[in-house]
Symmetry: C2
Subunit: 210 residues, 2 copies
């Protein structure tokens, strides 16, 4: 059973925390990119490493045990700031910012740079799968009810160039505890990757009758 921690954060407190940690995470994303692309000499790189280590030591003086988890505010807002795809405190996440329209379609526009590379100049196929898994999962849970991926099939139509991309996902049908979704990633010239997935309502939620 997965634990979702309830915090007593108001929307003001949430905004305040976002304002503290969001900018640091953006800078760390920038550092991840620079670490891949720098041609600085050995001394500059060694000095950079020392400074990064010092920053880490100060940040770790007060830290949570383990991972961030998924918190819920008293108002029911889900706060997945550590999430690998959407986490605003996770420098690994582009982050993908998702929007759901009235029809239930989940959409996102995002930039993938040097850190998401697989084939030269192109998005790693696994990164596309990761992002689609997440978007399909969001489309499967319009009410915020956790649903877990049972399976996902990803088809690569052509290589996806690094840069600005769009993605969307939609729920196609529901059959008992199974929810089916499909989606795609597109660049300026059209769809590059398609996916279909089935998402399962967890047993502990079924037992709770929700």
């Amino acid at each position: 059973m997965l634990e979702f921690t309830v915090e007593d954060w108001s929307s003001e407190e949430l905004a305040r925390l976002r304002g503290i940690y969001g900018p640091l995470t953006e800078s760390v994303r920038d550092l991840v990119d620079a670490t891949i692309r720098t041609e600085a000499d050995a001394a500059t790189v060694a000095a950079a490493k020392k400074e990064v280590d010092a920053v880490v030591a100060r940040l770790r003086r007060r830290q949570i045990d383990g991972a961030f988890g998924v918190r819920r505010t008293a108002a029911g807002e889900s706060v997945g700031w550590g999430n690998a795809v959407i986490g605003i405190r996770n420098a690994l996440a582009p982050p993908v910012v998702t929007h759901r329209d009235d029809t239930g379609t989940v959409r996102a526009e995002f930039q993938l740079g040097a850190a998401y590379e697989g084939p030269p100049g192109h998005v790693h196929g696994g990164v596309s799968a990761m992002i689609l898994d997440h978007l399909l999962g969001e489309a499967a849970s319009p009410d915020g009810t956790p649903r877990f991926t049972g399976g996902i099939t990803v088809r690569y139509l052509r290589a996806t160039a690094l840069g600005g991309l769009r993605a969307e996902a939609v729920r196609t049908r529901t059959d008992g505890v199974k929810t089916f979704c499909s989606g795609h990633i597109a660049d300026g010239e059209g769809i590059t990757v398609e996916a279909e997935g089935v998402f399962i309502t967890p047993r502990w939620l079924r037992d709770a009758g929700t």
Copy 2:
């Protein structure tokens, strides 16, 4: 067509470059984790951001345009240091270090911490898909010939706890330009995620008769 840059790196030069950039990347991975988990106050976080920005500025004084790409040494070794899954200069990559045995099975052991989270305390399903996509792709290319993912199907048997994990992938059959592979991720209690994929030899390699 994808360009693989040939460098004139000797194995000694490669080791020297790894010694310069590898440790910085390890420290940046540590910073990514600390950025998610810190409970430092606003002033400490703001100071950390400034220092990270200063490090980035120094690293960027000399940097390549765009992404790292995939370089090949004169001896034919492939250097994917920017790769999102295995890149030793990419702080997003755990990194996964793969080994191929005599039978062609590709194996990896790796640690996934707070930055790879989806459900609370567990690996993001998309991260599992990403890693399996990469391992299956390696299994599909025993000779280092680039093959691109045509499609991959991932089945989630149960949630994968963050921590120490193992994965493996194997080529199951080849049919013309298509190579089929399967693989899985396992924790201490057994397999958590399974995958099957089909990989395609790119047209420009087929035309070249290789």
